[in-house]
Point group: C2
Chain length 329, copies 2
DNA sequence: CTGAAAGCGCTTACAG
DNA sequence: CTGAAAGCGCTTACAG
């Protein structure tokens, strides 16, 4: 930078000013500086800049799994818009672990990121609150509870509304013995989808079958498979199943295939999220599509707004759309 | 830091020394400093440190796709070992685009990362070379060509050997009319796997069927599907197919299912990589397993060695293992 | 074993 | 419109 200043016959102050487009600069001087920069192939040190301005242009992005297409798609959306604005994303994978989730916040503070978006945190609200308090700029996607809402931006899928669409579709197709296949209630989406299911059933004047809820491991297909295998044996009258996500649904379909239960003739299956797999398995999966990339992009937009001072603590709700395929026509 | 020094009754110099475990420090002083750090909840600024030491403890990790499980698994392995060593990873997604690949290098230079690993670069060697020259510390995974090998670490899968295993397995099962279903030749793995296929066939005294190579879009299942559908119609005698990857293989299986061609009875199908999908589809996929997480971990190890001064330009070859499932017993 | 001081490469009040 | 100087929070020769 000193070299550039010397070459252009000005001071570092001036160089800094033209590079930042700050303050009044004569066109002539500006041009001299720009020429010098060009000639010397000069590039500012981000680090020195960060030290002086207390800004890193780094954003932390916390997800519970990097092997889950649902999240990687959100990340893609986020990355694209972050890069556009000259911010970079530091991707942090917690593997769904509470301790790692908290640890990430501390780490990101250490790195001095300018903001954080945390996706589907497993942390309950009383743990999330102090973390959100500590940071100025946080956006939470599908977070649990409400304690932290005063302090952070929030994006959440309308899982209740989504489930209503799924159930209504099944009921309209004449299904009467519906069940829900879900994960443990450790994430917002889990609880919401389950309650959405119950609500919709109730609205249709039906009761769930069986009355207890079928809980299965939701991050791979095996969970849905083994769980539904048991369930369909115990309750063979079941003719429709709404699932926590597409993996669980794919597992249910596999169980049906294996037991000679026909999908959709005997049992109609609806998934959630619309990951690639939904269209790859046979029969292809009717599912609720979540606009994943859009969520990522929106999260970054909201975060940047906060970073730039407009700290309104809004909550945005995202609708899901029912995509009808073979498993539940 | 000044506060800590004051609290402990020493200078910043001393504080810095105990924090870095550098130089001789009396136990007594060390303890005072540590206590002060504890009491004040002090944490060093990474940025200031970076400015002074010219080290950021950031590593760039470039992949052609973040939606491809093959790469996300490699990233997981890399992240785990990087974090262990107190390095963080900046994940960069190029979407397989040459320009973005080059752009990432420049960006990472801007961020001043301490090192870069680039996975399956699409850039041909003459473009990769100057980039590798510019950086001290680069590890290339499955890179094309050899021009840059003098300057960077290299990890590559033994695709020729892998394909030999696949072909031998098919031949041993009595298959005689084999074909290869692959992607365009823009990546090292593509060319290697294809040549491995031809070699192995040759060694078995067979010729490929058809003689021309079937090229299909390899990053989703559709490519393999539509390509194999045409192929099996034109060459119905085909009784075995080795595929560039599992997605292509899954597409081929779907084509068979649709046409009433039985897998494996009529056609045996072998994939490559062993992603989750391989065990989810029906019939489950016989495939070559690549130790993805191991590759990621190894890449970081090699990179850190270079960062720490041992700059041997080694090439490590990774073996693939044939996993036998239903599609080619 | 410890300290005073310069330096890393920028930005930004404060003057003019 | 431009400059001199202090400061961001560390590290590291150089002295003692």
């Amino acid at each position: 930078m000193a070299d550039v200043a010397h070459q252009a016959g000005v001071t570092k102050t001036t160089v800094s000013r033209v590079l930042n487009n700050k303050g009044e600069i004569s066109d002539e001087t500006r041009q001299k500086v720009l020429d010098a920069v060009e000639q010397l192939g000069y590039r500012r040190s981000r680090i020195a800049r960060s030290l002086a301005t207390d800004q890193t242009f780094l954003l932390g992005f916390i997800v519970p799994s990097i092997s889950n297409e649902f999240f990687t798609e959100i990340v893609r959306g986020a990355e694209d818009t972050a890069w556009e604005k000259d911010y970079k994303i530091l991707l942090c994978n917690t593997e769904g672990d509470w301790a790692r989730e908290e640890g990430m916040f501390l780490f990101l503070e250490d790195i001095q990121v300018d903001g954080i978006v945390v996706c589907a945190p497993r942390l309950p609200e009383e743990h999330l609150l102090p973390l959100v308090e500590q940071f100025q700029n946080v956006v939470v996607v599908n977070g649990q509870g409400i304690a932290w809402r005063e302090l952070a931006g929030s994006i959440e899928t309308d899982d209740v509304g989504g489930m209503a669409k799924a159930v209504d579709h099944l009921v309209a197709a004449g299904r009467r013995h519906l069940t829900y296949l879900g994960g443990p209630l450790d994430a917002r989406t889990s609880t919401e989808r389950y309650h959405g299911f119950l609500n919709a059933l109730n609205a249709a004047g039906l009761t769930p079958e069986p009355a207890e809820r079928a809980i299965c491991f939701p991050t791979n297909l095996e969970g849905g498979y083994s769980c539904f295998k048991q369930l369909i044996r115990a309750y063979p009258q079941t003719d429709g199943v709404a699932c926590f996500n597409d993996l669980v649904a794919a597992g249910a379909i596999r169980a049906c295939n294996e037991l000679g239960v026909r999908v959709p003739d005997d049992v109609a299956v609806v998934g959630c999220d619309d990951i690639q797999l939904a269209n790859l398995i046979q029969p292809s999966l009717t599912t609720l599509q979540t606009p994943k990339q859009h969520i990522g992009a929106l999260a970054i937009h909201m975060l940047l707004e906060r970073i730039n001072g407009q700290r309104d603590h809004e909550t945005v709700t995202i609708d899901q759309q029912l995509i009808i395929r073979e498993s539940a026509p």
